[in-house]
Amino acid sequence: MIARLSIAAALLAFAVWIPTAAHAEDKPAGITIGYLNLVNAQLVSKALGLHEKEMGVPVKWLKFGSGGDVNNAVAAEQLDFGGVGNPPASIGVTRDLHYQAVTVLNMLGSVEALVVRKDEHIASLKDLVGKTAAAPFGSTTHYLFIVALRNAGVTPTDVKLLDMSPSDAVAAWLRKDIDAAYVWEPSLGRMVQAGGEILLDSGKMAAEGYPTWDVTVVMTGFAAKYPSYVTKFVKSECAAIDFWMTKPAETAELVAKELGLPLDDVKRMMAGTTMVPCARQITADYLGTSAQKGKFVDTLVATATFLKEQGRLPAVKERAAYERFVNPSFLEAALKP
């Protein structure tokens, strides 16, 4: 009965709320953020309640294992904000998900790496032919793994590549079911401890021209309805990044508490992840400006083209679609004094 009443109340609230939305900008009743299981400044905003303070609305945080899962939640319209890497973002834009990238969460470095079994004598990517390897399909590491294999002259299908979440990959690694895995921390560290060595990491791939990153996305509908709240959200994200850059020790403690991980693990993970200060995010290497979008658009187009070649996407959209996705306007507004 109570449940039914509350459903009725929600429907009523919805009915009342729709017509008013067209007039002046309303205050959202609350926001839902889908965050990735990664180490970046988002955890600082979460731990310190920065969004609640800046926006004055209750915030619900939902944790996702990968950007692919975030995409599914976005498709189901369950989120207002989310975090995705460049492959899920390319997939989302190509498949008509209605969202926009508003800030850079992090640039991926050694926090994601290809770990190989020491006793298998794998000195180069070529030695992976005929071996069994794992990566979470549709993620940044899956993308980089195939790119790296192809660039090394290895036909990706010559490696038995299996779809596994990083935690499943650890189990398979301990059982010696897999010889290699391209995954992220903290699973990565466990594999290195259990007889693994790093063959390649995402920082190296970025230097070779294949950067991977995660961005904050906002739903296009939410951004149209509550633009000033998106700006506020961006402001508190920038504050969290500043906190990360200026107070690394405190940040490490906050993150360790947030993820329930040992401090040493967190410090290693933080060192493998690069934060980009907000003022730099609107330069050509990152989001760029509203007038001249940055390199992220190139990365998205390159990723989508690559996924199309791999038979993962039916078609690549025109460049304008990926340009529309990258939206620095909120960041520009937030940075105005």
């Binding site: 998900l97 779809d163 398979a172 301990l174 059982r175 993962r312 039916p314």
Partner: protein, 274 residues
């Protein structure tokens, strides 16, 4: 128009329907399927729903043809189907071979029941995905863990039904047969089997249906082929046409399997269908 003619019209429709040996229920079923398909076409044609959620039927058909001829991620549709069916049937047949005799023993002996019942009752309600994580750690990422999960899913309905069947045998029949001088073999052949088979058959049907629902969970980790894996993988790339096509193929295959079990049921216990 008078009531009589309406009645006549009705009887003549009924007669015409009978002439084609089509029951009104079958007509209703057919009409429901046609109506749902029409609704799907209309929704897609009028663009009332986002094609990401419900792709138009022609896209799903195109996905079917593409996957059938060119394949999805290295395997054609028939190969995905064979991969899934061989996993399901291996797990299911093994579960039948183990579960039915075990259930009969549990029904006949309270001591056997006391040993196995707590185990089965404990794991039965566990979510298959949670169980699977453990199986991957124990048995690895190959087909062994997948088949084991399907086996474990298939087992409880089989043992429970066989147990109930054995317990439900009317003692009067046993006494009567013994009085008439039946030997052990005759008692088994003419009293036990016919008394237990109907309940066991029902259990076998339920078991197969349940095993089928666990398929996607079994194929989520480290599969490279299989219908469940195809649906799971396509959803990661938001390929909803492949997802829906896969679900339709899964549904139809499930129906076909159920049909086969019902046929077997008819063949084994013909007296129930006279």
């Amino acid at each position: 128009m008078s009531d009589v003619s309406v009645g006549n019209l009705e009887t003549s429709i009924v007669r015409a329907v009978r002439a084609f040996r089509v029951s009104p229920e079958m007509l209703l079923t057919a009409a429901t399927i046609v109506a749902l398909t029409l609704l799907w076409f209309t929704l897609a044609r009028l663009k009332l729903v986002n094609p990401l959620f419900l792709p138009p039927p022609e896209d799903v058909w195109r996905a079917f043809v593409t996957v059938l001829t060119k394949g999805y991620q290295g395997s054609r549709l028939d190969q995905h189907l064979v991969a899934s069916l061989s996993r399901i049937l291996t797990g299911y047949v093994l579960a039948c071979l183990v579960g039915i005799p075990l259930g009969l023993l549990m029904g006949l002996s309270t001591k056997v029941k006391a040993v196995f019942d707590p185990m089965i009752e404990f794991y039965r309600p566990l979510p298959p995905l949670a169980l699977y994580t453990l199986l991957v750690m124990w048995l690895g990422i190959g087909d062994l863990s997948k088949v084991t999960l399907l086996f474990l899913a298939a087992l409880p309905p089989l043992t429970i039904s066989a147990m109930q069947a054995a317990r439900g045998i009317d003692r009067q029949y046993v006494k009567a047969a013994l009085c008439l001088g039946a030997g052990r073999r005759q008692l088994f052949r003419h009293v036990f089997v016919p008394a237990c088979l109907p309940v066991i058959c029902t259990g076998m049907r339920i078991s197969l249906g349940f095993t089928y629902t666990v398929l996607v969970a079994a194929e989520i980790v480290a599969a490279t082929a299989g219908l469940g894996w195809m649906v799971w993988d396509a959803s990661k790339f938001l390929l909803s046409d492949v997802v829906i096509m896969g679900l339709i193929v899964l549904g139809l295959t499930g129906l076909a399997l159920d049909f086969l079990v019902r046929r077997a049921e008819r063949a084994l216990t013909p007296w129930r269908f006279q």
